[in-house]
Symmetry: C2
Subunit: 328 residues, 2 copies
């Protein structure tokens, strides 16, 4: 099969479409012909050598896909050749074929294209894990979602809105990202470049009002998050795009407000964890995707021969929602 | 009734036994004649004006008691006058009588004296909440318990040992406290004054080996805790006796090890929370107390006319286990 290969050079890394061995499905796996995959920030790190794939995973880039079942493993019973499936991968999405555990594949709702389905798994499962499994978001709680225009951000806003009827506050640095956040269900959207979001929250909603924060930023937001969190509040960290070194931190709010500070990633979880998460997610959301109440926010689509350009767009922080690769 | 009154003076506060109105049981409460109460660090803060009782609670010091049911409220059905009960109070233990919700009172196992029963609620419920409800300690996990010679520390070691068959590491600053920790079930006990406990843990058990830390110390232990925590590890903060201001903190371990940093107190929880916690605790532990498999560690007993002296002993950090007041 063809797959995208990373070539390390002195001046950086470059991408090229090369031949690679077609994977063979293990007994409980299926072989999928990939119709679309999508880009994640982890791909950008991995090609620089900064984020190795977990043990046993394909070294090929790509953490999600949508496609057609080509072949089923000897003990796989859930799918038939020709079925349209999508799901999370530990690696291997930038290729013509991939294998996936039959329980980690989800059936694509009829109303969704491969392009749309490929844009769902990584961001929606990450957002679902953060809001539900880790953040224990309760019905009608108030949630603050940073990087509200990102793939995970737009997914988290939709899930918080549709599954928990939450009061949602988003932050982003660009006007059109704030508009997207509001269109998806955010009651308030603040431009962190122009406004102190903690002051705005206290003004608009009240102090100690945030039950859950989904944070990708880290350092610049620690103190403000502590300020606005409510009693029994939770912070879920998914990355530290703004840095991770803090000075002058007081632990007092953690005790006084009985806070939970949580960190998580999805990729290095066990296969069983991902299977359980996928099942829970599918039960709670596939109907809503089928009805159009949930939908992936797609920024742009590139032919996979232009993956370099697609990566550059994410590197430059220009995307609102997912960047999809097609044409394998 | 008689109760201990705090008198604020320029040179500090003093304690005196005065007359106070005998409380009246609300419909679901019982009136208890107190036979013994025990001292908590919160009492020392409260008498200095640094830890106000929660709304609706008695302003009298004292967070736990054991005694005899004197009278039952109009809708209370669980107890009869003469029953031996013990339990957690939001305040009011340093007195001849107190009221308590009937569901927050527990029956004293036959083998336990009032003195012993009064030494149980605050430390064991705090330890149980930290290990079980917050820390989600699993069978045979490894738990690091700081201040291992304290009331909560000695309770946590016993619960971790008897309820979860955990591998337990204790830290304390005095040799006899370390011996107590080992006698109660700690596999390793380190003197933090003489040893770097993180280095010792890595040497004796391995790196990234601690599933749960119960910490009362705060600042001096943050980095060492981060060092020894395992994947999916948890830290539960119950106080910051060593300070709360951190410099040069990296958030990276929180993400890389998928950590949970949790803070909690027991006193300012809702009555319903305390009732639920008490019920769960009673179900899981009263049999073990009855068989002697769990027992309060009692440091010393004072007549309540000598409460000042008893407070001084705790202030000086001289106690291993609980200090009990009797003679009301």
């Amino acid at each position: 099969m063809k797959a995208i290969n990373v070539i390390q050079e002195k001046s950086g890394s470059s991408l090229t479409i090369d031949e690679a061995p077609t994977p063979e499905p293990a007994p409980h796996e299926i072989l999928v012909q990939i119709k679309a995959t999508a880009i994640n920030r982890a791909d950008l790190l991995q090609r620089k050598g900064g984020y190795d794939p977990p043990q046993g995973a394909s070294p090929i880039l790509g953490l999600e896909m949508a496609g057609i079942v080509e072949e089923v493993g000897s003990k796989a019973t859930k799918w038939n050749p020709g079925d349209r499936v999508f799901g999370l991968l530990a690696g291997g999405g930038y290729a013509e074929y991939c294998t996936i555990h039959e329980d980690m594949a989800m059936g694509i709702p009829n109303n969704l294209s491969f392009k749309e389905a490929a844009a769902i798994p990584e961001t929606f499962l990450t957002a679902f894990q953060a809001l539900d499994w880790l953040g224990k978001l309760q019905n009608q709680e108030t949630v603050l979602i940073h990087a509200a225009g990102s793939g995970v951000g737009t997914s988290a806003i939709q899930l918080a809105h549709r599954l928990y009827d939450a009061r949602i506050i988003g932050t982003a640095g660009k006007q059109h990202k704030l508009k997207t956040a509001e269109a998806l269900g955010a009651a308030y959207a603040y431009n962190y470049k122009k406004q102190n979001y903690a002051e705005k929250i206290i003004e608009d909603i009240g102090s100690d009002s945030i039950d859950l924060v989904i944070d990708f930023i880290g350092k610049p937001y620690w103190h403000k998050n502590m300020e606005v969190l409510a009693m029994d509040g939770r912070v879920v960290y998914l990355s530290f795009l703004g840095g991770h070194k803090l000075e002058g931190v007081s632990l007092v709010p953690i005790l006084r407000k009985r806070l939970s500070i949580l960190g998580s990633t999805l990729r290095n979880r066990s296969e069983q964890y991902k299977i359980d998460l996928t099942k829970d997610f599918a039960e709670k959301t596939l109907d809503l995707f089928g009805k159009g109440a949930l939908h992936p926010v797609i920024d742009s689509t590139y032919d996979w021969s232009n993956t370099e350009e697609a990566h550059q767009r994410m590197q430059d922080n220009k995307n609102t929602g997912k960047i999809v690769l097609m044409g394998m």
